[in-house]
Amino acid sequence: DAGVTQSPTHLIKTRGQQVTLRCSPKSGHDTVSWYQQALGQGPQFIFQYYEEEERQRGNFPDRFSGHQFPNYSSELNVNALLLGDSALYLCASSWDRGDEQYFGPGTRLTVT
């Protein structure tokens, strides 16, 4: 059983560019959450998708947007990249009626 997968593993972008990160949830899971983890910090909640809609959003600007597809996979888009967006971006999947969230390996984004 494949766990949560994310792509790409690493990404280097320039300030002002746009980036798209991808996530496939664990088999049987229908809910995807995205988190940002800065170096030396715990993950911060960005938003969660369920039934192809954004269900809840953390304290992140509109430059951060997402999408969920009918197969439950998800994308995170970040526009107008800032140096401060450099972080590990984590995807977590869960079952809507469950409490446990399982994380993928993350995408490390570096903005120069």
Binding site: V4, Q6, S33, Y35, G40, Q41, G42, P43, Q44, F45, Q48, Y50, R55, Q56, G58, L88, L90, A92, S94, D99, E100, Q101, Y102, F103, G104, P105, G106, R108
Partner: protein, 113 residues
């Protein structure tokens, strides 16, 4: 003040030692508590999940929750070098459909052989 406080360490112990990791929180609405282990440059791995106050044991790991003191702990018995990682506490409110997790900043643990 952060909602969840966690001593960042680093914590270094000899192999076989008992390790105690702790978090305090300020939001009394937190009802579900988790511990994740994160190896360098990897995603967090769920170790323990608890709901009520008290203890939950799983192998060498014991999670303890004291809601009256807003304090949670993770104990690791017979620690091994393979336990060397960053340990993150996480918690969430009972209400709300999204079940977003609020994390501590993590404690870096090194178990010396």
């Amino acid at each position: 003040q952060k909602e969840v406080e966690q001593d960042p360490g680093p914590l270094s112990v000899p192999e076989g030692a008992i390790v105690s990791l702790n978090c305090t929180y300020s939001n009394s609405a937190f009802q579900y508590f988790m511990w994740y282990r994160q190896y360098s440059r990897k995603g967090p791995e769920l170790l323990m999940y608890t709901y009520s106050s008290g203890n939950k044991e799983d192998g060498r790991f014991t999670a303890q929750v004291d809601k009256s003191s807003k304090y949670i702990s993770l104990f690791i018995r017979d620690s091994q070098p393979s336990d060397s990682a960053t340990y993150l506490c996480a918690m969430r409110e009972r209400s709300g459909s999204a079940r977003q997790l609020t994390f501590g900043s993590g404690t870096q643990l090194t178990v010396l052989p």
